[in-house]
């Protein structure tokens, strides 16, 4: 087991967003969390990334290390957990290349960094054409590619993806998910949260269903795709 989360609770002020959820990810796995808007999907990823504080009785263990001991930047630089945030959140005032380089801020392996940048450009050839362009001038699809590329540069043990399909035309969505598959085959585990349940369950091996801050269902993706409750609530009948 690579990442195990037990009794994860997160509150925003007096509002409880997560009521103690449990899940795990194995090495090299693709796992998805599906759920409606406001179910707590983004909060789950932010808690792993330590962008939002988890309540002290939560347990999050990554490769034997207590995640609660790490600050947000160390989760990335020391543990290799990267995070593609909701809405991409690129640095629009920086160039494509600068966005990629910034993600290597804490890395010391200079030669590998150059090889990784080459790799990103070989996965997303469009980014290479636009490497000296400001990220803010990219199209939606290119921005999502850069967001994934940037996460690839920052850490590669687990990639957390928050709604990567959002706002993308089907063809671009395919490009992004094909790239994610490639990245996964090279050894990066993926935790994907999506409103697009069908897409997520087809992509992932296992899935969890999050409702109002509770995980209500889990299983293999193909079982969840067949599950009548899931069908009714998330797959449009």
């Amino acid at each position: 087991m690579m990442l195990s989360v037990e009794n994860l609770q997160v509150s925003y002020g007096r509002i409880k967003a997560l009521h103690g959820i449990n899940f795990k990810i194995d090495e090299g796995e693709i796992v998805c969390i599906i759920g409606a808007n406001g179910a707590g999907k983004s909060t789950t990823l932010r808690a792993i990334s330590r962008l939002v504080p988890a309540s002290p009785d939560s347990t999050m263990t990554f490769q034997g290390k207590n995640l609660l001991d790490y600050s947000a930047d160390k989760v990335v630089s020391q543990l290799g957990i990267s995070h593609v945030p909701e809405g991409r959140r690129l640095f629009g005032n920086l160039t494509v290349m600068e966005n990629l380089r910034l993600a290597t801020f804490a890395r010391k392996d200079k030669e590998q960094i150059e090889r990784d940048i080459e790799r990103v450009f070989s996965i997303f050839t469009r980014l290479e054409e636009r490497k000296s362009q400001k990220a803010g001038t990219l199209s939606g699809g290119e921005q999502q590619m850069l967001a994934v590329g940037r996460a690839f540069m920052s850490g590669r043990k687990v990639m957390l993806l928050d709604e990567p399909s959002m706002g993308l035309a089907p063809l671009l969505m395919m490009t992004v998910f094909k790239a994610l598959q490639e990245i996964n085959q090279e050894g990066t585990a993926i935790l994907l949260v999506e409103q697009n349940a069908k897409l997520a369950l087809k992509f992932a091996q296992r899935g969890y269903v999050l409702e109002n801050g509770n995980l209500v269902l889990e299983g293999h993706s193909k079982d969840l795709l067949e599950d009548p409750e899931v069908k009714k609530a998330y797959l449009g009948g």
Binding site: L51, A72, D73, S77, H83, R89, R101, L102, F105
Partner: protein, 307 residues
């Protein structure tokens, strides 16, 4: 015509101080979305640290212990004071701002005011109300260029401030630290996802801004050798105006606005009685802001402050 150029020279010198102080204001404001109202007082602290170091080196030289020439003492004073004052800035960040990063902006703003008062009155308590004189480190030389009098000090002051401004611009645009600063100005909440510590960048921002304020303080001491604990208030406010006028996220903008303010003030004083100077000068600035609310080179985006 001669009067015009004479005033131009004076404006360049005065603008140099405003520009150097404005840089620190602008950096903290752009990168941390924070008005560091203590910055003018950091300028004062830098001037006093410079006074201390210069006095020490002059004393050592007079005993023959460390016989350095005056210009070298000045260079050393600038470098050492910039270094030491950067720690004052880091301390201010650590105790005054970091605990308040999630607090309402107004709380963080009044922290600056309070730290400013603490620095002023702390100085008063430590050194007393007596003004101190910055030691004369370099021989004054005046050159007559077609009726315009230029001193070696003025040339040095303008030169040093331009060099420091360009150096900062290079740092911010070319290094990875500068890249992280620009990223923070755009969207600081997700900067940790790049493996960058926000605290480190905030500390660095305060350190650099304070070091530049110290340089300004010493140059100020060279030009007007009388230091007093409240010397940073008015000039600090004006530099703050320059920082905003330059535009958020623009190093060169802040420096240019600093020089521009210097020009406006000096030239207003050339035409009108000096009691009218700030009244008219800052009415002009207000008018500029009405027509250019983002300042001269402000980036057209606003920082994201929510996840």
């Amino acid at each position: 015509m001669g009067e015009f150029f004479q005033n131009l020279v004076n404006a360049l010198q005065y603008g140099s101080f405003l520009a150097l102080i404005a840089l620190g204001y602008s950096m903290v404001y752009s990168i941390l979305m924070l008005f560091n109202f203590a910055h003018g007082d950091i300028f004062m602290v830098g001037a006093y640290i410079g006074f201390g170091i210069a006095t020490l080196l002059v004393t050592l030289a007079s005993f023959g212990a460390l016989a350095l020439p005056g210009w070298l003492i000045l260079v050393l004073t600038i470098i050492i004071s910039m270094f030491l004052t950067s720690f004052v800035g880091m301390l201010v960040e650590r105790i005054g701002y970091r605990p308040l990063r999630e607090a309402p902006r107004a709380s963080a703003a009044i922290t600056g005011l309070m730290i400013g008062i603490i620095l002023e009155t702390g100085n008063l308590a430590l050194l007393g109300a007596k003004r101190v004189s910055f030691p004369a480190l370099i021989e004054s030389a005046t050159y007559d260029i077609g009726g315009v009098f230029v001193t070696n000090k003025k040339i040095m002051i303008v030169f040093v401030s331009i060099i420091l401004t360009l150096a900062l611009h290079q740092f911010v645009t070319k290094t990875k630290w500068g890249m992280a600063m620009r990223a923070m100005a755009f969207d600081y909440l997700v900067v940790p996802l790049m493996g960058v510590s926000i605290n480190t960048i905030a500390r660095l921002t305060f350190a650099i801004g304070s070091a530049l304020a110290a340089a300004a303080g010493i140059l100020y001491g060279v030009a007007y050798p009388v230091l007093e604990p409240y010397m940073g208030i008015i000039v600090g406010w004006k530099a703050f105006v320059a920082a905003i006028l330059g535009g958020r996220g623009s190093i060169l903008g802040a420096a240019l606005a600093g020089f521009l303010l210097g020009f406006i003030e000096i030239f207003v004083a050339m035409i009108f009685p000096s009691t009218f100077r700030d009244l008219i000068a800052y009415s002009i600035v207000l008018l500029i802001l009405v027509f250019r609310p983002h300042g001269f080179f402000g980036e057209p985006y606003s920082a994201k402050l929510r996840l």
